[in-house]
Amino acid sequence: MRIFHRSKLLLLGFLAAIVFPLSGLAAGDVVWSALIYASAEQTPLPPPPEIAAYSQKLQRIFGYNQFQILNQHREVMDRRSENWLIPGNGFYLHVGAQQSGANYLLKLQLYQDQRLAVQTIALLARQSPIFLRGPLSSDGQLIIVVAVQ
């Protein structure tokens, strides 16, 4: 009887140790998304702090050296699924995010002039952002960044 009681405690401790770390995987995550104007300048301005971590990659991939945030959104993922909008002038992005294990399943809808231009389903991983190459604008280009912070 005593052995059985001890085994119950052991089993409970084992389950608690396994379950609690796993359940804390996605708690308090923030999915950050931004509409960025990228351009090539003779004397580029330093990148805003929000995109400082990505500016080097943006420069290597798209070839621009200056980045300005036109609009951005920080969504705290305190529910299983969230939806938000990044408005622009004639160009905006609708994001639907849903937890998928330790990652997020995104539904990205790019609208241009009230018309759905591109729709994509993506799996967003930690420390691995998604860049969307948007339309050309002025002397540069619009870029959308979605990342887990």
Binding site: L25, R60, V118, Q127
Partner: protein, 185 residues
């Protein structure tokens, strides 16, 4: 005991050994027996010794004949079965090594195994798993574009995974140009 061959023996005459064998078997003619015994005595073999040798040889012959007749007339039936039974009984009667007693009873072994498993799981959950979490996903673990659809054929969307950048790019072409004043307002 064997005397040297008589120099007078010719190829047609029987040898000393043949005559001696015939005398032991009682087949030597009486006319030659006296000559054979005299020849033996000349070589220092007494008559009593000769008689004793003949008796011993006859007894040995009789014994061999009886034994040969017994094995020929009464062979062992089912010899293989007999051998197998004999081996089985030998094995049964041989002393067997005693089994070593278990250090722990089976029940304790089971609980010991479960406890070790639980301890290993606790160590993994407490030490290894947090360390893995701090490291985050491996660099090669990219976000993935699962599906991309465009409104019309003038727009294209292609997923790209730039090497060593750990980012995923959806490269969209064909969108309408956005004037600067419109984009920045």
């Amino acid at each position: 005991m064997k005397p040297s061959e008589s120099p007078s023996a010719t190829p047609s005459e029987p040898t000393f050994e043949a005559r001696m064998t015939a005398w032991i078997d009682g087949a030597l003619p009486e006319s030659e027996e006296a000559a054979l015994l005299a020849e033996c005595q000349r070589h220092g073999i007494s008559l009593a010794q000769l008689e004793a040798d003949r008796l011993q040889t006859r007894q040995l012959g009789n014994l061999l004949r009886r034994h040969a007749a017994a094995t020929a007339l009464n062979p062992l039936p089912h010899a293989d079965f007999f051998n197998a039974q004999l081996l089985r009984r030998i094995e049964e009667e041989a002393p067997k090594p005693e089994k070593a007693p278990l250090l722990w009873p089976l029940r304790r072994l089971v609980w010991g195994g479960l406890s070790s498993l639980g301890l290993a799981a606790l160590l993994f959950a407490g030490l290894v798993f947090p360390a893995l979490r701090q490291q985050g996903p491996p660099p090669e673990y990219y976000a993935q574009i699962l599906n991309a659809q465009t409104a019309d054929s003038t727009i294209s969307a292609v997923a790209m995974y730039p090497k060593n950048e750990n980012v995923t790019v959806l490269w969209i072409d064909g969108l309408d140009y956005v004037p600067a004043e419109k984009a920045k307002n």
